[in-house]
Symmetry: C2
Amino acid sequence: MDRRQLRWQGWGRIDHRRDLSNAEQDYLAEVLGFEAGLPQTPVPELSQLELPSSRIGKRRLGALADIVGDEAVRTDRFERVFHARGQSYHDLLHYRSGRLESAPDAVIYPDSADAVSGLLGWAAEHDMAVVPFGGGTSVVGGVTASAGAGKAGVITLDLSRLDQTRGIDVGNGRASFAAGIYGPALENALAGQGATLGHFPQSFEFSTLGGWIAARGAGQESNGYGTARHWFVGARVATPSASWTTEHEPASAAGPRLADLLVGSEGTLGVITSATVRIRPRPETRSLRAYLFPDFESGLACARRLAQTDRRLAMLRLSDADETRFQSRFAALHRSPSIAQRAFKWYLGRRGFGAEACLMLVASHGGVRTVDRAVRNVRWVAGQHGGQALGAGPGKTWYETRFEAPYLRDPLLDRGVGVDTLETAATWENLPELYAAVRDAIRGAVGTRGILMTHVSHTYRDGASLYFTYVFPRDPTDPIDQWWSIKRAASDAIMANRGTISHHHGVGEDHLEWMNREKDPSSLRILRSVKDTLDPTGLLNPGKLIP
Amino acid sequence: MDRRQLRWQGWGRIDHRRDLSNAEQDYLAEVLGFEAGLPQTPVPELSQLELPSSRIGKRRLGALADIVGDEAVRTDRFERVFHARGQSYHDLLHYRSGRLESAPDAVIYPDSADAVSGLLGWAAEHDMAVVPFGGGTSVVGGVTASAGAGKAGVITLDLSRLDQTRGIDVGNGRASFAAGIYGPALENALAGQGATLGHFPQSFEFSTLGGWIAARGAGQESNGYGTARHWFVGARVATPSASWTTEHEPASAAGPRLADLLVGSEGTLGVITSATVRIRPRPETRSLRAYLFPDFESGLACARRLAQTDRRLAMLRLSDADETRFQSRFAALHRSPSIAQRAFKWYLGRRGFGAEACLMLVASHGGVRTVDRAVRNVRWVAGQHGGQALGAGPGKTWYETRFEAPYLRDPLLDRGVGVDTLETAATWENLPELYAAVRDAIRGAVGTRGILMTHVSHTYRDGASLYFTYVFPRDPTDPIDQWWSIKRAASDAIMANRGTISHHHGVGEDHLEWMNREKDPSSLRILRSVKDTLDPTGLLNPGKLIP
């Protein structure tokens, strides 16, 4: 992945743009209360960005190059800026502020696990912090290039050259890859053998296998394919104290499975250099159907029922009324509904689906007959909860654009708008209360001129996730402070209502305070002891995850 | 569970006996080469057993009683002997030797988590070791009452009074229990709400929820219901350093899930006092069908195919040819085959099922239609691999007697026979090699006069378990040395062939040497650091699991 083809200041490929149409601008200006239309708030040029000078001199760079190779060492402005932060709204605000408080003193692109180990040794010797960087799509401050307290500097370790397919073993249901492989390359390699991992997070195109494991990721179809916790078999890890090959057995009772500690370790315990995962045959067929429910409550009841009784589902996604309404209106801005669509809307209105109606998408993958039966079962269960089948149309649109939403953020940010997301999970019982409390908190912090949308995207037998998206007029004076006040309010509400601070985004810098509140002090002490064992001088990814 | 109703020197309830019939004795004498018939090797009387005196005096016992209550403190001979060791063949040899090298200095029956914490405080103050004891059915030396190096004595903590049902929440798919609850009590409580945990290890009747988690247990139907790793949500744990409430979220990316460290912790990190588990609705129907394969290879190929493609199976159990043949012959000793059975056997012979034929049992649980489809699919896949459906008969017999096998061990031990089991797991690819190597190793150590049987009992997409049972003439002079020589040969063969030292029995004292070889030194250092954090003076279950 050539970094120069990617935006340093926003999402994705430079050659892929998403502009706001006039209709979209007018609609947002109206909804968000910009009376004079959306303002122009362009991003600074790379050359204008203030950033601290590199603290690593030529002599030490030379020594580094001796270890990792000349071509692996980068200190130019683009590389330092590109790797300074991740891809959260919070990160983009820092880029847009025109000034980066921190940036890597050098960016290293190792081409082998040995080079990674060598670099860690060099960093320990020179008292440098090291930030492992896969795709850099963290939205929780997971790759911020902070030296941490008392370190002489910070190196970002870009793992994208570790992208080899090591082996695909369909007969054993396993495959091994170097950990810096990107989503599309991994799935293409598997597709060549008729297999899939089935891990499709929204960041799929720009995130890596190692990152998925380190961030405890969950793909959109994790109901069917599992989260990183489920498909991760084992890894080779470079740590400051030693190299570590974790357990790789299909199952074992030889003590606790310490490999599991890597899932969610966020580059603080070691650098995952290669990993083995469980793969599956590519499904014979995929179905993605939409259903409309009279309200969120009935949709949730149906989701719970399906999650507890139907193991054939690959995905279940339920939007609340606000999200259903907003997405329908926003879509209509650039594509007028057909007569048939308008007639169907009228029919739905007559059947009692009004402003509170909620859209559910349900996917099933597998053999033709299995999927067919799953579809029929879902339609039947949905019907029992007042749901109306809408067919394959809405799902098709969602599927085709499922990696596109992040591209919308940059033009919004260019026009004075703020947009962020956060997510949590709880038991089914606790979900409605948590939903109401987090919405109240975000609304209270954003103010009346905002759009707040929520969906359930991952369901389990004992609970589900909640994903909140909020769009609001950005405070032109101190947008970072504004962001923190919303984040703080929402996170406090999550804690007060027995949610988790993250279902799949992770902890990073941004959630650290709340993870400290969420986990029992004994859990935190254990985490700290594992950190001290593997990384005794604390050089790996300082400021993230570890209390 | 009144301990006095149980055997201290063997398996299960005193009022439940399994004697060897004359036919069985004659058959075993012939197969095992006892020319004068099976010898008499009775177990000593409780009163004859030599055991060390308790090192805890009256004053300290009084202080203990102040913390946990008078009725919770036991130092009588029965209690000390009953809790001296677990239920392995190795343990029974120690009991049968007439002399116990160690026994608990006192047995404590706490009735609350607070009493457990109080006891741990007392133990730390008096430099005593503490052995957590659920049902005591460990077969790897997991509950041996060892004081360890430098401790002044050892207390066994019998958790069977912590047996309360705390809450069954069918709507959330969860239930919470005090951790000392036995299998039947737990399932009865759940059955009252139409639910099940579905965890049925062979020890089910005499093992506890906390033990299942601590030993990383897998029930017989773990294909359908998962192992402890899958159904365990969270726990409250008393540790010598603090009480610990683990994560309880349905899913979270708030860092590594430290609760997972408890799964396989074997009482070395803390005492699980209560636990929350994922439960399911009781299945509408259960099917258990048998199939015969021409040989182990074709059975394995079918097992692999089913494990990788059919998620509806609750259990898949494949016996090798030796096990299939032995069980058929042993069963025929007390139940002559009917004419129909003999005719069917003749038919099977004509169809090419000879001495190499292997029996497979496949269970499916769920809705009537789902189970019906699963059965049809299994029959079809089995047919593709040369398998012949045998109907429901063999499965019915297996199911009805599935908790009975351990009762057979005691009469065998009374008649000069040795019997032990061990188990491992590996990837599908590696399984045939591992199977052959472990069989060779056991055969080599047991000698020609032995019976060796193997089955696959737990299957995964990427591999399966192997379970070996071996019956042999016990060395009358040094049976413990004989046992070690077999154990060592088999365990070395497992290590040399990339198996795990245990699929579901655990580590305890007996497997410690091999776990140290199996796990990477970094994994061992992590385990050690977690131990030091939670139990800094090493008072919990010394000698087990921790390197």
